[in-house]
């Protein structure tokens, strides 16, 4: 159990002298609280597994330091760090029974027999593996094998953190949901720091108190699910989280007004000091744009298509040349394709070079 600090941590697979843009993980400084449930979210190849392997010690960083409770462990081996990690595909030891598999990490560390039996029994109970304890692990299904892997990750009570590298990839959707809730319950019960890598936003948002979004080797935002949703710090976060993602439109912003393709939009805050020469965009989630009948004060648009998601309907609309998604209020059916758009100004954000600009 420990607080984990990353200080200017970076990793390059092309040598330390390579161009910083080619680094798999660009320098990052951040803190992981003891006992927190974190999700590392990002698309494939964004560096999240690299970051995880740096924390567990499978990789040694090209630059920077890692501190556990203030102690520099950058050069320490995985064993010394006392980290648990669960991998994407189930790793089980073929010759052992389920129980022996679960006991393996404890046995290797010379934990007394009675203590091992107690921990294994407890973890098996939490993961519903008790009936299988004496079976050969090779004979089980992929689901059960992955539960064994999870169990081996959780069986040590003294670990600094448990890292999960997309552990539910091989699991059926139904069971996936159960296991995720189980992990969440385990987190509360065992009071361990957990870091969960995934590219699935639902998984990340349901599991974690704090979601860390990565993009192209950088940490672009870390915050609660609500923060990521309401106030994305980067256009990537807006677009990656949410379904459909945030509308990003290039615009000219001056004071309290944004101009999109000749149409003017009033903003909640005033933006006077935008960096010169930067690419200015506004971002607004489809949930905060309502479709209405055309009228004064509304942005004129044309409906192209309506996506009915059952619970909610989104309209794909066009404003001049810009396309975006907007919410269709229940009970409203547009007559013809010409409609008006009603914005919730509090949720319209301005981005300069993809980064959020705070208005005054």
């Amino acid at each position: 159990m420990a607080r984990i600090d990353l200080v200017d941590l970076a990793q390059s697979y092309h040598g330390n002298d390579a161009d910083i843009e080619s680094f798999a993980l660009k320098p990052v400084t951040m803190t992981w609280r003891q006992g927190g449930a974190y999700a590392l979210l990002g698309p494939s190849g964004c560096g999240k597994t690299t970051l995880l392997n740096l924390i567990s010690g499978i990789l040694t960083p090209s630059r920077g330091k890692i501190l556990f409770d203030g102690k520099d462990i950058t050069q320490a081996s995985t064993r010394e760090r006392n980290i648990a990690q669960v991998f994407q595909f189930p790793v089980i030891y073929d010759t052992m029974t389920v129980g022996e598999n679960l006991a393996f990490p404890l046995k290797n560390r010379g934990v007394p027999r009675a203590e091992i039996d107690k921990r294994v029994a407890e973890i098996a109970r939490l993961l519903d593996l008790t009936p299988d304890l004496n079976r050969k692990a090779t004979r089980l299904t992929a689901d059960a094998k992955q539960k064994i892997s999870l169990g081996r990750g959780l069986v040590r009570s003294d670990v600094a953190a448990v890292l999960f590298d997309e552990p539910l990839t091989v699991i059926d959707p139904e069971l996936k949901w159960q296991l995720r809730s189980k992990l969440k319950a385990l987190h509360r019960e065992l009071d361990l720091t957990m870091i969960y890598v995934t590219h699935d936003q639902t998984e990340a948002l349901t599991f974690a108190d704090t979601v860390v979004v990565m993009h192209d080797g950088r940490v672009v935002q870390s915050g609660t699910p609500a923060e990521l949703f309401d106030k994305p710090a980067h256009t990537f976060v807006g677009y990656f989280i949410g379904s459909p993602g945030m509308n990003i439109l290039s615009a000219e912003v001056k004071g309290r007004e944004a101009r999109i393709d000749g149409h003017t939009l009033t903003l909640a805050r005033s933006y006077d000091a935008l960096p010169a020469g930067a690419k200015i965009e506004i971002g607004v989630r489809p949930e905060f744009v309502d479709v209405a009948a055309p009228g004064p004060g509304l942005l004129d648009a044309n409906i192209e298509r309506i996506d009915d998601l059952g619970r909610i309907r989104f309209a794909r609309v066009r404003v001049g040349d810009a396309k975006f998604a907007a919410r269709l209020p229940s009970g409203f059916s547009p007559s013809g394709s010409a409609i008006g758009l009603k914005f919730n100004p509090a949720y319209v954000h301005v981005y300069a070079d993809s980064r959020l600009v705070e208005g005054a």
Partner: protein, 300 residues
């Protein structure tokens, strides 16, 4: 799906059947025929029934004594080389590099002995072991060790076994290396996380994952060493005395030296049968081992 049944299709099998008949069945039946008869030359044959087979399995007769003694030597030889080559092959495979140009280098060096014809291997070791001009023999002799494979039984066995180890350990090593390479990195990383010692990694991951290639290696090496002929024949000629006379060498002596076609035919049939039985046993073990794993294959 409806299948058309047309018995004329059997004619399509005919060419293969004829080919197999001429290449395998007819020669085999000729041997069976010989094994039931005795001949005194002049192409005159006399019916002997199962007489040769009875004699073959009776240690008190000349034929039986020679057969059982050489069978014993064959078994000792096969067990000895397996006991050396399998652990040695595993050690070699484990110490090979996993990436870089050295991999190709090691593979080529390892493959070299496998590419040398049996006859040449025999000649190499025949000369290598000679106390007067051979490097091995000369070195051992000058170290004060009384080494002479021509006159000493133990030295002859030592030479023949070392020769086989030199020739074939590479095969075991290459098979094991292939088995090792197929283990995903995640297993090693997981073992690292679980705090496994080097020995635990070997017993919990590497050995179980090599289990199938090891069975293949043992099978191949057993069959091959059980049928060994050329190398000991070139090095020791079966001597000193009969101490390195293996079944195949005995067979050639009886068939071509003494021209006892009946005895030789009976011997070769029994020899063949032993190999078939061992093959079958190994095959059964291997397929059973495979079936045991199959239901859960998808995950790993």
């Amino acid at each position: 799906m409806d299948k058309t049944i047309n018995n004329k299709a059997w004619f399509l099998v005919l060419p293969v059947f004829l080919l197999v008949a001429f290449s395998a069945i007819l020669p085999l039946m000729t041997v069976v025929n010989y094994s039931m008869q005795d001949t005194f030359g002049n192409n005159q044959f006399f019916w002997n029934g199962v007489g040769w087979f009875k004699e073959l399995l009776d240690p008190s007769t000349d034929l039986g004594g020679r057969f059982l003694a050489s069978l014993g030597r064959n078994l000792i030889f096969s067990l000895a080389i397996l006991a050396i080559e399998v652990p040695l092959g595993i050690v070699v495979a484990l110490s090979m590099p996993r990436a870089g140009w050295t991999v190709a280098f090691c593979l080529v060096v390892l493959a070299l002995p496998l590419l040398i014809p049996w006859n040449v291997v025999g000649t190499i070791w025949q000369i290598f072991g000679r106390p007067d001009i051979g490097l091995l023999g000369y070195t051992l002799t000058s170290m004060g060790i009384d080494y002479n494979y021509v006159s000493n039984d133990l030295d002859a066995w030592f030479t023949v076994i070392i020769m086989d180890v030199w020739h074939w350990t590479s095969l075991v090593a290459l098979l094991c290396y292939a088995g090792l390479k197929s283990i995903p990195d995640a297993y090693y990383q997981a073992a690292q996380i679980d705090g496994a010692s080097r020995w635990a990694v070997f017993t919990a991951i590497q050995l179980p994952k090599m289990h199938r290639v090891l069975l293949i290696a043992v099978l191949l090496r057993f069959m091959d060493s059980f049928m060994i002929y050329t190398e000991p024949f070139v090095v020791t000629g079966g001597g000193p005395g009969n101490s390195t006379t293996f079944i195949s060498i005995e067979l050639v002596k009886i068939a071509l030296g003494q021209f006892d076609l009946g005895k030789a035919a009976a011997l070769s049939l029994v020899y063949n049968l032993i190999i078939l039985i061992v093959c079958w046993v190994f095959y059964t073990i291997m397929t059973n081992a495979g079936a045991e794993r199959r239901p859960t294959e998808g995950g790993a």
